[in-house]
Assembly symmetry: C2
Homo-oligomer: 343 residues x 2
DNA sequence: CCGATCGCCGAAAACGTTTTCAGAAACGTA
DNA sequence: TACGTTTCTGAAAACGTTTTCGGCGATCGG
């Protein structure tokens, strides 16, 4: 009597309570709930019934203390407000089932010392693994080789080839964009892109030039127009382009922002898109691309998939199957109304 | 000899090791490191020296197991890719020092059952508190009163007044926007806004109308133009507005997207901004506002501050000082070049 | 010089699990 | 019936801390 009374108090229910209710020992209860084979079916049933009757939920601290696994991973991002981290993060969060693994989020804001700080905190919490997502698609410093947990780098690859890095295929994206324009029958294709300090800008340009060369074409305007990742640069470059090369029939923009600037100028000049000039962007940044006039064909980076893959690779590494090197993930074409075949 | 050797193995270093090296018991070592008063200064020094010499870092599971506090909070968002969750999340993440409290991120994608699922997972992990951030600034269903941890709702208030909710001041924002236009000498002010299904749209309109009334002014165009939160609607409404009311000298847009649409049409019609017509947006969504032509004056929601406040309120509640009701946080005016005094 | 007080330290219990190992019970076989 | 095998169960140790409480030596007041 006093026993059941004692257990009925507002305390959180423990395995002891379950065991008592099921009339077994804690050891058996544990084994029953964890699916260990060495317990009779009938006994197991009694235990699980007791467990759900008491709404038992095991204390993860006690579990982690003994198993040495926390069931958590750290997500170290350098640029939360950047649009790139978020989809990756969503993909990762969703690839780990939330019931198996929870993710700690840390934003270092591109600050190395803040990053170190967060790293310490995460290791103190004994995360089972780490995903590091960079702010821009260029190589970043490795966290080092002597970490006690596996790490995967996403979007921004590590500078240490012994690490595993996952990146988007910028060269392939550039190729894909130009390929699409060519299939639309365009022959005089220009490329306006962003900051030449970004490796991604060069990669996208390379993909574009490769595809053009295969077709025996040259870039309209004679060269790649590097500049900045902004609408203003898109506008400025478009004006110069139209002046130097009025018969251009397609523009491949290195980002959706730039594409917006280009569209703006074309509109201003009463040049019809896509019938006279086709425009394709890069990034598929929805708010920009879908709201453009006309809606923008663009290259989607598949970031959510990148995040999912990162989670899978990390899981594998946590299971003892580590990998290394740089893995390049495919991008894809999103066709909207800013491109169309020449009629 | 064998002792020091044993400790030198690759095992993670525990308080025992520290105590041994400092020549005290684990009890004393614990007290020394936790700043308990009942330990001599000289002893404490010896212990901390030993601790840092061994790079000791306490096992948080053992700590949590005994203290019943995890030092973690859950952040339950409904819409990660939405632009509103992110700043809030950043503010919150930063208000909890990462060394004190880490945050678990969960995205429910607006799905109630997924939300329940994540909630279970977070409670299983025994978070010390919960922040719930909604996708849109309207009332949402409470998580209930019987949760074992304190909760604060951010951006989207709970429908239960017993909960604590933190929201942005939409009425104040509407007032602030119109006030700014009036100070710029504008008298014929129109208001184009988004989906009338959003409470925020009505609140902003109310603030605007209040301020106009104080000045004895009426809305140019005769009414609030409700529609959608898109550039396209901004364009369409602007055209109608110009037709019905060609002498308008200012437009208050209910969002930056809408403002972009309005700017677009004004540009098309060769109407000078801001000299002929001033335009003000809402949200301060940087990619849209800063890249606009001209850069957009707008209302900033102070979301990062909202996140910080949420973290503070939650901390207070975790310390046993709960609050309830809805707290409204101020917004602020960001002046750029799309507004200016009439000359 | 003696008893009370005070400051400091350590032994041990506790937190809630998992896992090992030994023993009990049931069963089949000779 | 005796004995080896198989199946199941439970006692106890372990994980790494925090906290209580008793004890010991020193200091102090008388």
């Amino acid at each position: 009597m006093e026993e059941s009374f004692g257990a009925a108090a507002n305390r959180t229910v423990t395995l002891r309570d379950v065991a008592r209710l099921a009339g077994v020992s804690v050891a058996t209860a544990s084994k029953a709930l964890n699916g260990q084979p060495q317990v009779r079916a009938e006994t197991r049933a009694r235990v699980v019934r007791a467990a759900e009757q008491l709404a038992f939920s095991p204390n993860t601290f006690a579990q982690s203390l003994i198993t040495q696994r926390s069931g958590t991973v750290g997500l170290l991002t350098s640029d939360l407000e950047g649009r790139f981290s978020i989809p990756i993060l969503m993909g990762a969060e969703d690839a780990f089932g939330s019931d198996q693994t929870s993710v700690f989020l840390c934003d270092a804001r591109g600050d190395t010392i803040r990053e170190k700080h967060h790293l310490r905190a995460l290791l103190t919490r004994r995360v089972d693994g780490l995903i590091v997502v960079g702010a821009r698609p260029d190589t970043r410093a490795s966290l080092g080789r002597d970490l006690p947990v596996p790490v995967v780098y996403a979007y921004a690859p590590s500078d240490d080839p012994a690490d595993l890095s996952l990146v988007t295929d910028n060269v392939g994206g550039g190729r894909l964009a130009v390929d699409h324009l060519i299939r639309c029958g365009r022959r005089r294709i220009a490329h306006i892109t962003g900051d030449p300090g970004y490796g991604a800008a060069h990669d996208r340009a390379k993909g574009a030039l490769d595809r053009l060369a295969e077709e025996g074409l040259e870039l309209a305007g004679g060269e790649v127009w590097f500049g900045m990742w902004s609408e203003a640069w898109g506008r400025g470059a478009a004006r110069m382009l139209l002046e130097r090369c009025p018969d251009v029939d397609a523009v491949f923009a290195g980002s959706d922002e730039i594409a917006r600037g280009v569209l703006d100028v074309l509109h201003e000049e009463r040049i019809a898109v896509p019938s006279q000039v086709a425009v394709i962007g890069f990034d598929n940044w929805n708010i920009l691309a879908a709201n453009a006039r006309p809606p923008l064909t663009t290259i989607d980076l598949n970031l959510e998939q990148l995040g999912r893959t990162a989670a899978q690779r990390l899981s594998a590494a946590m299971e003892g199957k580590p990998a290394s090197g740089t893995e390049t993930l495919p991008v894809r074409l999103i066709t909207r109304e800013s491109t169309a075949p020449l009629s």
